[in-house]
Structures are given as C-alpha cells and as structure tokens.
Symmetry: C2
Subunit: 223 residues, 2 copies
C-alpha cells in the first residue's frame, strides 16, 4: 500500500490524501462544536461532498475519522535513511550514532509537524470536549511505537525487545509529547524545535550522570 504513491498512482494518492484530510477536518470541527454524538456521519459526508460509501472507504468509524490517518507518520525516505544509518556497526551491538540519528529524525519529523499545526490544535479542542478519545489516541500511539521499535531494531540488528530499542522508542516519544504540550500551551512563543532540543539536552545531562549499577563487574551491587 505504501508503494502505490509511485509514478501513475501519485496523483490519485494525493487526491485520496486530500479527501481523507478533509473528512478529518470536518469531523474534528463538528466534534469540538457538538461532541461525538452531536452529529452524524451523513453530516460529515454532506459538508465534504462525498457519499457514505466513500466515507467508510476511508474510515471504519466516526472516531477513526476524528483521529485521522496516522499510518503514514514517518515519510518512507526519512525512515529508510534512518535504518540505513545503523549499517556500519556489527549486528547485536547498539550503534554509537543511534541517539544522534534519533534526535535528527525527531527534528526532521517536526518540520512536517509545522504543516499540520492547525490540525493538532483542532485535535486538542476535540479531546477537551470528548476526553474518552484519549484512549483511542493511546491505542494508536502504542501501535505506532511498536512499529517504530521494529524499525529501530532492524537498523540495529537486535530484537525489538532489546531494552535500548524499547527505551529509545518510549523515551523519545515521551520527550516529543512533553515538548508538544509545552508548544501548544497557552502563551507559548518558543518554536517547537527549540523546546524539543532543550528537553533532549536535559535528558542527556541527567542520564549521563553516573549511578550505582549492580552488575557482573560488581557482584555486591554497591560502589
């Protein structure tokens, strides 16, 4: 499916993406105004000038329409470059550039974020009105993190359950969410990239400090 955007399929794919985005914009507007049960799928169809059949072609439920299409979060070429970046280090060993490349990837993804800023503000409005949608968002986030763990594992030549892979995915995810919350908070004037880098630097400062690490080199677990 991801490959259908090539050559001839390009225009069709862009049209599909535009329709999909339009459905989500309208569904979010209506939810923010009237709540999840304050409007029908038919009203969304009317406002976007599509049939019911087309609607369900894009989204199985109203909730899915509100959350929008999130599969294609990381552009394929960006992800490929990231995965290829681990090639030079021996499999089974974490590459020394993993953190640097994760930070670069986060910054690259945040450029795309700028384009969807209005959409994110809309989503925040929707969640304020219908907090239970957070459960759906958590579900989507977990799926996306599981997929990204497989990508990082592929790059590093280790299983997705490797602790460094798992920590990379959940901690960078937490930092991105925290930075995004600060960015969208009332009265913020600082750019997202600046907030993200400040948080990444702070995390790096803290986790670079020594700690008591009981391990094979220190059988008593005390320094």
């Amino acid at each position: 499916m991801e490959n259908s955007a090539s050559t001839d399929g390009g225009l069709r794919e862009r049209k599909r993406a535009a329709t999909r985005a339009a459905i989500t914009v309208v569904a979010r507007q209506l939810t923010a105004e009237r709540g999840l049960h304050g409007y029908t799928v038919e009203e969304v169809c009317e406002r976007t000038d599509i049939s019911r059949r087309t609607f369900f072609n894009y989204f199985p439920t109203k909730e899915d329409a509100i959350l929008g299409h999130v599969d294609d979060e990381i552009p394929a070429e960006v992800l490929e470059e990231f995965v290829a970046g681990g090639r030079s280090s021996p499999p089974g060993e974490i590459s020394p550039t993993l953190f640097r490349d994760l930070v670069r990837l986060s910054l690259k993804l945040s450029e795309h974020m700028a384009a969807s800023e209005e959409e994110t503000r809309q989503l925040i409005g929707v969640v304020k009105k219908e907090p239970q949608l957070i459960l759906r968002i958590i579900g989507v986030t977990e799926k996306r993190e599981a997929q990204f763990a497989r990508d990082v594992a592929l790059r590093e030549g280790v299983p997705p359950e490797h602790p460094v892979v798992q920590m990379a995915v959940v901690l960078l995810g937490t930092i991105a969410r925290k930075s995004s919350m600060a960015y969208f908070s009332d009265g913020n004037t600082r750019p997202y990239q600046e907030l993200l880098l400040e948080n990444i630097s702070a995390a790096s400062q803290l986790f670079s400090q020594p700690f008591d690490q009981p391990g094979p080199a220190d059988p008593k677990g005390r320094p």
Copy 2:
C-alpha cells in the same frame, strides 16, 4: 494531614489506612466482576461493614474508591532523605548525584510496591473491564508528577519548570511504568527491580551517546 501519623495519632491513622484499603479492595473486586455500573456504593459499604457516611468520608466517588488513596505514595522519610541529598551543590545548579539518587529512590519505592502487588493486579483487572478509568489514572499520575517535580526542584534549588527537573520526573515515571507493565505481563518470571535497572541502564547507555547539539558554542548548529 500528613503529620497526623505522629505519636497518639499513629494507631488511628493505621486504622484509617486499613479501612481505606478495604474499601478499595472491595470496589475493585466488584468492578472487575460487574463493571463500574454493576454495583452500588451501598454494596461496598455492606461488604466492608461501614456506613455510607464513612464511605464518603474516605472517597468522594465510586471511581475514587476504585483508584484508592494515592497521596501517600512516597513515604515522608524517604522523600526527606532524597531532598536533603541535594544540599551540598550550589543552588541553581543540578547536583551531580541527582540521577543516582533518583534511581535509589525508584528502587526504594519498588520495595513498597511488592506489598501492594495483589492490589495492582486487581487494578489491571478493573481497567480491562472499564478502560475509561485510565483517564482518571492519567489525572492522578499528572498530579503526582507535578508534586514530585516540586520536590525535585526543592532539592536542586531550581524552579519546577527547569528542563532537567521535568525530564527527571516524566522519564523516570515512563521507565517505571514500562518496567511495571513488563513485570505484570503474562509469563514474566523476572523481579521488578531487575527489569527497572535494565531499563535505566539502557536509557543511560542511549542518552550518554553524543548528539548534534546546536548551541552558543556552535552557532551554525552543525558539528
């Protein structure tokens, strides 16, 4: 309120804690069996042998009873020792032992966790039956994290908004939750402390790697 546990109040406070815990155990059992709306507060009162009035003395709502009392998560003496540990470093500067002491604190808290293991399994059962309770748990977690940020800030002599304080709180929180999920997952045989330390070590390994940090020393933002 926290201080009422001293001298004479000690016994009374322990009795209160026992009643409170009993209410939560029963509320969780009934929720796991019948769902949030499948039983009444009166049934909880009958099974715990208390009056309605006593129930509402402890918890404003049924949902609060299910979640239980979480104010007293960090024992006062443990917290005091942690805060005192930052005393030797100059105010405004992050102490070089912050990470080590956060790890020690996490391990200490996990000893208390062992006692409440059955309760946690119950809570997992409850959330599977009533997923919307996750929203309440998120709310409680956010409040607790905000309080802990104030404690860490006090220790470090910096404002709670300091990025290292914020990252310390949310990232250690994320690591603890992730470790806890692994611990309570089906078929796990490893102790919680081992899982926690493995994840902390992995996070430390990743975040100790160098990354491109655009900053005053590097005006172009490129290495």
